[in-house]
Symmetry: C2
Subunit: 325 residues, 2 copies
DNA sequence: AGCGTGCCCAACCGATGGTTGTGGCTCGCC
DNA sequence: GGCGAGCCACAACCATCGGTTGGGCACGCT
């Protein structure tokens, strides 16, 4: 099926004449006629009844029309999504089921007219991410550069939101029945966080966390998939892991696992947005406003060192960037 | 853009290998390769990075993928909508902004997975509608046959729901400030209902209505469009019209018009569903159940004569067909 | 090094989709 | 009723496309 034929069908149905549709589409009337005929042959139905005044939809044509419109708008959206120059807003996240993606999905549900594409750079090195932002391959990235001195002049990093951590344990774990936990209560329990790339921002985060609260965090070893991790947690009496409280999609509930909030202090994994300093994508402003409207964290919060230094990269106070609409 | 190319792109992205996508689609790997290359040429971007193990999406490919999925599902829906034999549920309504269409739209919004097509037979003669139902061109029709004796044996007509009438007047009309009206209060006011085909069910309805309540209903003359009618109503101090209370879409509010409910008795225009007696479309049952769950009318209701005689065409009581789920 | 795998390129060929030109049909008008 | 206008379909022609087969290159594995 040729989408130009579908487009011709839609316009012909709306205008009532192949001739007008042809004029509008910049082809001859005969071309439109052949396109329609090809559609009719492919679908094995008659789409129009030909009259002296033009064409009129048959029942099958009426049934097809809304779907044809869907196809045409889908094609248009696809083109705008990747058109070089003025393409749709494109934001990089670490994973499609991460807290960042959930927040973006929330944003898109409240602004469904936005042409927003969520992608994942398949690289771990933050410098490559910064390069991608500089080059305009992506409009923004939910990543962190732990050393702000490495940021080039034309790229800024602003605080997006914090993701509070929760403990995820199976039913046989000694902490399974707690309603909340403090970090010191985790001491001497084995916490296993697989799939952390060495020297990544997450490795740095867990390193500081283990040091500050004297915890046993095992962040080495490969990650064999969420399902494997969940199976191990569900069976084990002494292994726990940490997950972001917004990562709703990651952890299906069919393993009888417990999510236990950690408080006093709340452990906040800070998420930043890396974006070009000059001429950011026009749609980005609304996303940043949405980030500012997220529920704030309670008073007592622990953050890693790089979240406490200034990162906003401009002279305006943070409340300006995060202002509510 | 060729939708088969889009489909190939989606499958290749999901499977990670052109070869597998080609096997699945029943073409050679080279064909898929050329399809992808054609897409890339048309969109002027690279969609995959070719590796030794297969292919991997680029950023542009990632951005395109969800839109490509939309296109593919749109095409599939379009095909199922008109595939002879097992096509989507197809229901005929009088107009796309009529109460029937509104009710169907409500149904579809609560069951968005239903493949439902709303069409309009461009005929006035109810016998042609019955023929279309018999032939299977449509699965059901929201029309009425005022004389049930004319229904063939293999077609039935069941009561769908009632549409209460409201008076629509401009601000200068003497009844404009009434909260509600009774039919007798309409006596001697001029009621203009344009666009009623002679001897149609609507003509019959207004005829009975005028006789039973001694009203002045002018149902003759052509209809020059809703906008013209609204303009006339807004300016006139003595012309009113009747509209169905569910016909929300028809009457935009920018003319400062008043909708006044009519009560004691409520004037109910009854809507029926004409459908084949044997082997109706499987999706039709759920629609009928939805009709039964609509808010019922108050006690005192006036209906035309044909709504009071039995039309259901089977021996079951009406409450069975209209049972709530 | 040899092999398997997976992709691209080249050559070929029938089908497709565009064009121009023409004909048939219906409708409105004189 | 004849006639022109408007609109769509058909025919002929041609460039392009989209499929096939065959071959080659790059990469990873043993």
């Amino acid at each position: 099926m040729d989408t130009e034929a579908v487009r011709s069908f839609v316009r012909a149905a709306e205008l009532g004449q192949l001739q007008h549709a042809a004029d509008e589409l910049g082809v001859t009337q005969q071309a439109v006629s052949k396109r329609i005929a090809a559609l009719e042959r492919e679908l094995d139905v008659r789409l129009f009844t030909r009259t002296a005044r033009g064409v009129e939809l048959t029942l099958d044509g009426q049934a097809l029309l809304p779907h044809a419109r869907d196809i045409v708008t889908g094609v248009d959206r696809a083109i705008t999504a990747i058109r070089p120059g003025s393409r749709a807003l494109r934001i990089d996240v670490l994973g499609l089921r991460s807290a960042q993606a959930v927040v973006l999905h929330d944003y898109w549900r409240s602004h469904p007219e936005t042409d927003l594409d969520v992608v994942t750079l398949r690289v771990n090195d933050p410098r490559l991410v910064v390069t991608a932002v500089q080059a305009g391959d992506i409009d923004a990235s939910f990543r962190s550069v732990t050393d702000p001195a490495t940021l080039p002049r034309d790229v800024q990093m602003i605080h997006a939101f914090d993701s509070p951590l929760e403990l995820l344990v199976g039913p046989r774990h000694p902490l399974a029945s707690a309603r909340t936990l403090t970090p010191s209560q985790l001491r001497r329990h084995r916490i296993w966080v697989p799939g952390i790339a060495p020297r990544s921002e997450w490795a740095e985060f867990y390193d500081q966390l283990a040091t500050d609260f004297d915890l046993r965090i095992d962040a080495a070893g490969p990650h064999f998939g969420d399902e494997v991790l969940l199976d191990i947690l569900a069976d084990s009496a002494d292994v726990a892991t940490l997950v972001g409280s917004r990562d709703r999609y990651i952890w299906p509930t069919n393993h009888d696992l417990r999510r236990i909030p950690i408080v006093n202090p709340t452990l906040a994994y800070p998420l930043f947005l890396i974006l070009p300093r000059a001429n950011p994508h026009p749609g980005l402003r609304a996303v940043i406003n949405h980030l500012g409207s997220l529920a704030p964290l309670p008073e007592t919060v622990w953050r890693p060192s790089w979240a406490t230094t200034a990162h906003d990269g401009d002279d305006r106070p943070r409340s300006d960037l995060h202002r509510r609409r």
